[in-house]
């Protein structure tokens, strides 16, 4: 016996959920290469443009046979890709506009044919085109026994859309696995691909064909809007988490899964459109990652910047005090802040230097401690070496090098062991002094 709760799930939700997962996976995986090639919007164009193909296939064959629909949509997807290329190359139209012209005209053609076809049935409703029709995928003869899953007729009970989507997902995975090397090179650098004997143009067409197949297979179940969202969002999100393509693809697959399941659950819970909710979920995940990604997130970037800023402030203080120590001058805290520019960061950096015992206060005067002196020497060494390098190797005049050296000293050690004075005649402190 299957418990009633699970049985309800099996009846109403299993197939829609599976459909959403397969659609998300196949589109999400392919999206990685579209995002890499800066062609995300090709997915957008294709998914708009399959509409006339679907309607024409119906008008010509007068039936809703999935094969005919599939061929019609795939043909119009390929027509889109070719037309965009033709208009871009022969017409010399800006790529964005070329794409916009092609997909809006084809979509308009689809809407026009649709209105005329009297085909406003289950499959071909103009609104279903946008957000699909997941809820019709319920299990008509829902099983009551677990053993039913092993029975003979289970194969025919699973809706055709699920089989199509499953086959598409497997095909996409095989395509990406087999041609991973070619896809990667062709996406990163078409020129290098050609040199290595890989035809980048053929790879492009192959990729577009698979995008078209995935779009068409997903279209009926989840609608064009989720196709676009899934072609772009999971890959874009993964791209914010890693720099390696393989990792990115795996991460995007996980995100696609999470989006499909999470979006579907939320939609069932709130009683709203599932495809729309999944697209929204994809957006929400992207926002979270964009802000919180440990490597490329907004927070991480701000934190790194603050860290660098603090380091620069501290090093500037140590450098300034070292210069004063060279001429045996002293300075009070107020004077130092006045010369370095009064900012919260400088104040904090002085406090930090005091707590770390890099500097000390002697009769209201600031002085470097032994460790502070060593660090200050290191910074001045880098600064003066940079000045020397800039004058001698780059050919900048000595009175123009200070600013540049001031920035470089915090980042890179030029390490030029044979220099002993800078262009202004000041001594370069020895290493590890």
């Amino acid at each position: 016996m299957i418990p009633e709760l699970i049985q309800t799930f099996l009846t109403l939700d299993l197939f829609p959920l599976l459909g959403a997962i397969f659609a998300s996976l196949s589109c999400g995986l392919l999206g990685n290469f579209l995002v890499l090639r800066k062609q995300s919007l090709m997915g957008d164009a294709i998914s708009h443009a399959v509409l006339p193909g679907l309607v024409l296939a119906f008008l010509i064959t007068q039936d809703r046979s999935p094969i005919h629909m599939f061929i019609g949509a795939a043909v119009s997807a390929l027509v889109t890709v070719i037309l965009v290329e033709v208009i871009k190359r022969l017409g010399k139209v800006e790529p964005g506009a070329a794409m916009g012209v092609v997909f809006s005209v084809l979509f308009a053609l689809g809407v026009f044919l649709l209105e005329n076809a009297n085909a406003r049935g289950v499959d071909l409703d103009a609104n279903c085109v946008l957000h699909g029709n997941l809820q019709i995928l319920f299990w008509t003869t829902s099983p009551t026994e677990w053993s039913h899953f092993l029975s003979e007729n289970i194969r025919s009970e699973v809706p055709r859309q699920i089989w199509t989507l499953l086959a598409t997902t497997i095909a996409v995975i095989i395509f990406i696995t087999v041609f991973f090397k070619e896809l990667r090179i062709a996406s990163f650098d078409a020129g290098i691909a050609t040199v290595q004997g890989i035809n980048a143009g053929v790879m492009h067409m192959a990729l577009m064909t698979f995008v078209a197949i995935a779009a068409v297979a997903s279209f009926e179940a989840v609608g064009s809007i989720l196709v676009i969202a899934m072609l772009i969002c999971p890959a874009a999100t993964a791209r914010l988490l890693t720099d390696r393509l393989i990792t990115q693809i795996l991460v995007s697959a996980i995100i696609a899964l999470l989006t499909a399941i999470g979006g579907y659950a939320l939609a069932s819970w709130m009683g709203v459109n599932a495809a729309g909710m999944m697209a929204s979920t994809a957006g929400a995940i992207l926002v979270v990652v964009m802000i919180g990604s440990p490597s490329h997130g907004v927070i991480a970037k701000a934190r790194n910047q603050r860290k660098l800023g603090n380091l620069v402030a501290l090093e500037d203080i140590l450098g300034a005090l070292y210069r004063l120590a060279e001429t045996e001058e002293h300075t009070t805290r107020e004077q130092l802040i006045a010369t370095l520019g009064s900012s919260k960061r400088t104040h904090k950096a002085i406090d930090r230097a005091l707590t770390h015992k890099l500097i000390k206060v002697v009769n209201t005067q600031l002085q470097l401690t032994q460790t502070g002196l060593a660090q200050g020497a290191g910074i001045i060494r880098k600064h003066r070496q940079w000045e020397g390098y800039l004058v001698e190797q780059v050919g900048i005049s000595p009175d123009h090098v200070h600013e540049t050296a001031e920035q470089l000293e915090h980042l890179i050690d030029p390490d030029l062991p044979n220099q002993h004075t800078d262009p202004h005649g000041k001594p370069i402190p020895p290493k590890n002094s």
């Binding site: 022969l90 017409g91 809007i225 729309g276």
Partner: protein, 426 residues
């Protein structure tokens, strides 16, 4: 064919704005909107913002549904047109702002940013729309029309409002023409002259929003972007001058709007938005093929002529070189038909199965041979190309040398003490 129940008179009346008052208002309003979209679209095209406009128009959906939900929950009628337009404008602008945020705060590129905003905002819109449909009793059913548009359902005041917005937006664009032009063509220059580029960009965006929002009802939010993209893209084939581009684009936009709205008013089941876009698309296709300067046909003819010219030059040059008895001179390679054509044209003649130059052919051959030598010497002495490597690049350039260039080459070479004689046989 029972879709055509009307007679010629009715067609004529509608097209000449003598139909019903409501129909006239819709046709006129759509025409004005088309003109405005054509004008403003020109700048969007030059600024490469065509697809940003697409994201913008998709991003209006959550605004429409949201405005409906909020106003009904406050007890007002949710169908108030200005309120829905305000909501649409707000989320549309928000969508564009999100594109900028993604571009500036992540490593994602523009295509991904546009696609993300487009799909996610539209997804949110679909969610809100399904909330509208479950929560309100039938009142929200009409909101679907904003997706595909339904010109027939427009009231007269809606159409008048659309027309007025069209006029205002076109005028605003014409007043700002100079500023828009500078920003479109050279952003850096505009900045250096102290123009507030972001402000001008924002005004441009504001006008796009205005067009998008006011066209939602007639054309629908998916296809409205076509009215902004297609007319200027088609106009671009006809001219290289900006004011002409704006003018032609406005005409194409107005024509599409007029034709689309009329056809949709005359025939049942012809959605205005789709017809407008199809008309505009046909004009685009014709322009791309037939436009005299940038059209494919004109371009192909030009290319073919140049190809023939070069082929002719090669034949004449090789024959001339044979006459000069230059070492590696060889018989020209050309098809029999081409040789026949050249014989008919009087450049060459066939005697004893060998080809020879006529007098006029010899003059030409001499000229080409001399150009070849000029360019060759120039490359050797000025561009530091080894004498053995020159020929390859010479063959392509020698055919396109103009008289001015030849004079310049002679001048440049004589400065280095090199003169090329007139190429008379030694």
């Amino acid at each position: 064919m029972n879709d055509l129940p009307i007679n010629f008179e009715e067609i004529f009346d509608t097209l000449t704005l003598q139909g019903g008052f409501n129909t006239n208002a819709v046709i006129l309003g759509t025409t004005l909107l088309g003109i405005a979209a054509g004008v403003i679209g020109s700048f969007a095209l030059l600024r490469k913002r065509s697809l940003t406009a697409d994201a913008l128009s998709h991003a209006t959906l959550p605004g429409i549904a949201g405005a409906f939900l909020i106003s009904t929950s406050l007890g007002y009628s949710g169908r108030s047109m200005p309120l829905l337009m305000l909501g649409a404008a707000i989320t549309g602008i928000l969508g564009v702002a999100c594109i900028h945020l993604i571009l500036h705060h992540s490593r994602l590129k523009e295509d991904a940013a546009i696609g993300i905003v487009l799909s996610v905002f539209f997804g949110i819109g679909i969610v809100l729309l399904s909330l509208v449909q479950t929560s309100s009793s039938g009142g929200g059913a009409g909101l679907n029309h904003y997706i595909y548009g339904q010109a027939a359902a427009m009231t007269r005041s809606d159409a008048v409002l659309m027309g007025i917005i069209g006029i205002v937006a076109s005028l605003a664009a014409l007043i700002m023409l100079k500023e828009f032009m500078v920003v479109c063509f050279n952003e850096t220059f505009a900045r250096s002259t102290g123009l507030p580029v972001w402000l001008i960009d924002s005004i441009m965006l504001g006008l796009v929003v205005l067009i998008t929002v006011s066209g939602l009802q007639a054309v629908g939010l998916i296809l409205i972007v076509a009215m902004i993209i297609i007319p200027p893209a088609a106009a671009r084939f006809w001219t290289d001058r900006l004011w002409k581009l704006v003018l032609i684009s406005a005409i194409i936009g107005g024509l599409s709007g007029y034709a689309g709205a009329s056809i949709s008013a005359l025939f049942p089941r012809k959605p205005a938005g789709a017809v407008i876009v199809l008309v505009a698309g046909s004009i685009f296709g014709l322009s791309m093929l037939l436009a005299p300067t940038r059209g494919i046909l004109a371009d192909t003819i030009r290319r073919l002529r140049l190809k023939l010219l070069i082929a002719r030059d090669h034949v004449l040059e090789s024959l001339y070189e044979i006459e000069l008895q230059i070492d590696n001179a060889s018989q020209p390679k050309a098809s029999i038909i081409f040789i026949k054509l050249m014989t008919m044209r009087g450049w060459i003649m066939k005697t004893n199965n060998t080809l020879a130059l006529t007098d006029s052919g010899r003059t030409q051959g001499k000229r080409i041979h001399r150009n070849h030598q000029l360019w060759e010497q120039y490359l050797v002495s000025y561009a530091d190309i080894a004498p053995t490597h020159v020929d390859w690049s010479v063959d392509q350039v020698e055919h396109v040398l103009t008289d001015e260039l030849i004079a310049e080459l002679e001048e440049a070479l004589s400065q280095r003490g090199i003169t090329i004689d007139n190429g008379d046989p030694a």
